[in-house]
Amino acid sequence: MNDLHSPNGVPVIDIHDITKTYEMGKLTLNVLKGISLQIKRGEFVSIMGPSGSGKSTLMNILGALDQPTSGEYNLDGEDIAKLSQVDLARIRNRKIGFVFQSFNLLKRTSAQRQVELPLIYAGARDRSKRARAALEAVGLQDRLDHLPSELSGGQQQRVAIARAIVGDPSIILADEPTGNLDSKSGTEVMQIFQRLNQEQGITTVFVTHDPWIARHTQRVIMIRDGQIVADQQVAEPLVAGESERPSEAEELQGIFEAAYATPNAGAAD
């Protein structure tokens, strides 16, 4: 019996010494320089790092969307390196739910149908029921027939999350899912991930630039220049929506020397 609320020793993802190299004409670009990592079932992990450090490259490899140049990758007990194209498609379909920064919804397609897409390729029967359940889980039960153009950014990303969870994957991978959202929508999306992780025990890994968002996860992995430079447990993960995000003024507290005189102070009266 799995304890849904805390990681239990079995690794869902187990990578060892993964490298990724791009050949750009004469130039060789070592984007990942040997990454080893284990993510256990039920974990809630964020990956941080500067732009260009290789986060997306790593996520794409974890999501079986891209192949590493070398290294070992074990997903849920399957050796990914040995799989054929057809088997990789099956892995993407059954074991992975990917959420993109840019939502990647189909144009002019209703929310429900977007969510049904993985089920269509899985050949599942009760598609519409499952799609509606997934949309309900992200709070969009009354937006089933909406097209992407009729939804806000936050709602579009929630449709994408519903699409990621509908097939009951072993893991959700999200590459900067809040990157295109304002902070309020970002917090909402964050809340959903956290709730899915806590209530349904869905293993989740996501990339973020935002330290405030990262503070909501249990574990933060820092990447720099294609290598892991830190991998730490968060002592007290925040609960999304419960604690108020510090305002800009609060975040900048104490860094100023002196205030400028406001030119038209009192003129408004």
Partner: protein
């Protein structure tokens, strides 16, 4: 992943780009319409030709004197004679024939009271009616007696009656008419026959053969009796066209002293062979025109390929996403193949509809008497060709889509 789902995706996409789809299939619509209407009109004309020869007696060979098709000895044509008729009737010379009948035509002026017409007068043997299965409305045809007595009697067709008496329903039996100033008694009316190739058999005025040969014309040939214009030979039940033709040719070549068959000064023909020859010429023409029309199908196919390449390129991110959520290459391949097939089959359906319109109009207005035959096999052919086009021109774009790598496709701008 099932076909139904791919059909739905293809249909959705076509509906989103309705105008574009319409313009794309136009080439195929026109191509299919052109080919199918040409084929069906061509078949209609072939049927028409065949129907014109129908009833002309497939078992009858017609022999005519005519200049050789090769060689320069054009003036020296030996006429066909009553002696030839008698010879061909003998089993020793032509065992494949059961009946031989002869005809001698003269141009004549026919007068009744104050009306006169110019007409060709046909002197025919007594067995002419039986061989041609063409009888008087009432009573018998000429007898051997009428012939040897050179009786001045005539049978008339309905058209000839109308021309001379002013009313096709007039019964001239018993009337006396003048043919080239000789009095003839009309003894009967011939059955009405449908016309073939604009020749109206009902305009005939028939007289006994010998009467025409000796009284209306000057057909005497030294040593061989009289000349005849045509000989008709009926093939026996157990004989065949080739053997019978051979027997006649062998006899006449020997008789005319010709050793090279290419220099024959007569022709032996059969309605069926004429019909076949004409139909064949026409079929070749139809095929040639259809081949030209098929070029527009090729152009249409290239149009489908073009728009499919555009579609694949436009939907690169969509393909990437589909692969990211689990679509296999084969799913993507069939998605785009079905879209291409749908385009070309829609084009085919439109083309068939257009062809139905075109052939109906052409059949009604342009070629009276010709019924275009747009039959099931033409539809099947069109469907088959369109399926072929869809596969041929859809395969490359669909394959291109199927082979995309998910991450590159998702990054595509």
């Amino acid at each position: 992943m099932n076909i139904l789902e791919n059909l739905r995706i293809a249909l959705d996409n076509l509906m989103l780009n309705r105008l574009r789809a319409l313009l794309t299939i136009l080439g195929i619509v026109i191509g299919v319409a052109a080919v199918t209407s040409l084929i069906s009109l061509g078949r209609g004309v072939e049927d028409y030709i065949a129907s014109q020869f129908e009833g002309l007696g497939a078992d009858i060979l017609t022999v005519r004197a005519r200049p050789p098709t090769r060689g320069f000895n054009r003036s020296a044509i030996t006429p066909l004679t009553t002696a030839d008729v008698a010879a061909l009737e003998s089993d020793a010379i032509a065992p494949s024939l059961i009946a031989v009948t002869a005809e001698y035509q003269v141009q004549g002026t026919v007068v009744y009271r104050y009306d006169s017409i110019s007409s060709s007068i046909r002197g025919v043997s007594p067995n002419y009616a039986a061989v041609n299965d063409w009888y008087p409305l009432e009573g018998g045809f000429f007898t051997e007696q009428d012939n040897t007595a050179q009786s001045q009697i005539a049978f008339m067709g309905k058209t000839a009656i109308e021309d001379l008496f002013g009313d096709e329903n007039y019964d001239p039996t018993g009337e006396t008419i003048l043919i080239n100033d000789l009095p003839f008694t009309v003894v009967g009316i011939m059955e009405e026959q449908s016309s073939t190739f604009g020749q109206d058999p009902n305009s005939a005025i028939l007289v006994p053969l010998l009467t025409a040969q000796s009284k209306l014309g000057n057909a005497r040939v030294a040593g061989s009796g009289y000349s005849v214009s045509t000989i008709q030979a009926q093939i026996a039940e157990d004989g065949d066209v080739d053997t019978a033709t051979d027997e006649i040719e062998t006899y006449l070549l020997a008789e005319h002293g010709i050793t090279n068959p290419d220099l024959a000064d007569f022709s032996v023909s059969n309605p069926e062979t004429i019909s076949e020859a004409r139909t064949e010429v026409f079929a070749t023409l139809t095929l040639f025109l259809s081949a030209i029309a098929a070029i527009s199908l090729l152009v249409g196919g290239i149009g489908v390929m073009n728009i499919m390449l555009v579609s694949v390129s436009e939907r690169t991110r969509e393909i990437g996403l589909r692969k990211a959520v689990g679509a296999r290459s084969s799913d993507i391949l069939s998605q785009f193949m079905i879209e291409a097939l749908m385009l070309s089959l829609l084009g085919g359906a439109g083309g068939i509809l257009l062809a139905l319109g075109v052939t109906t109009i052409a059949g009604n207005a342009l070629l009276s008497g010709v019924t275009p035959s747009l039959s099931a096999d033409v539809f099947l052919l069109a469907t088959g060709v369109c399926t072929g086009i869809g596969i041929l021109f859809g395969l490359y774009p669909a394959n291109r889509a199927a082979r995309m790598q998910p991450i590159q496709a998702l990054r595509f701008e």
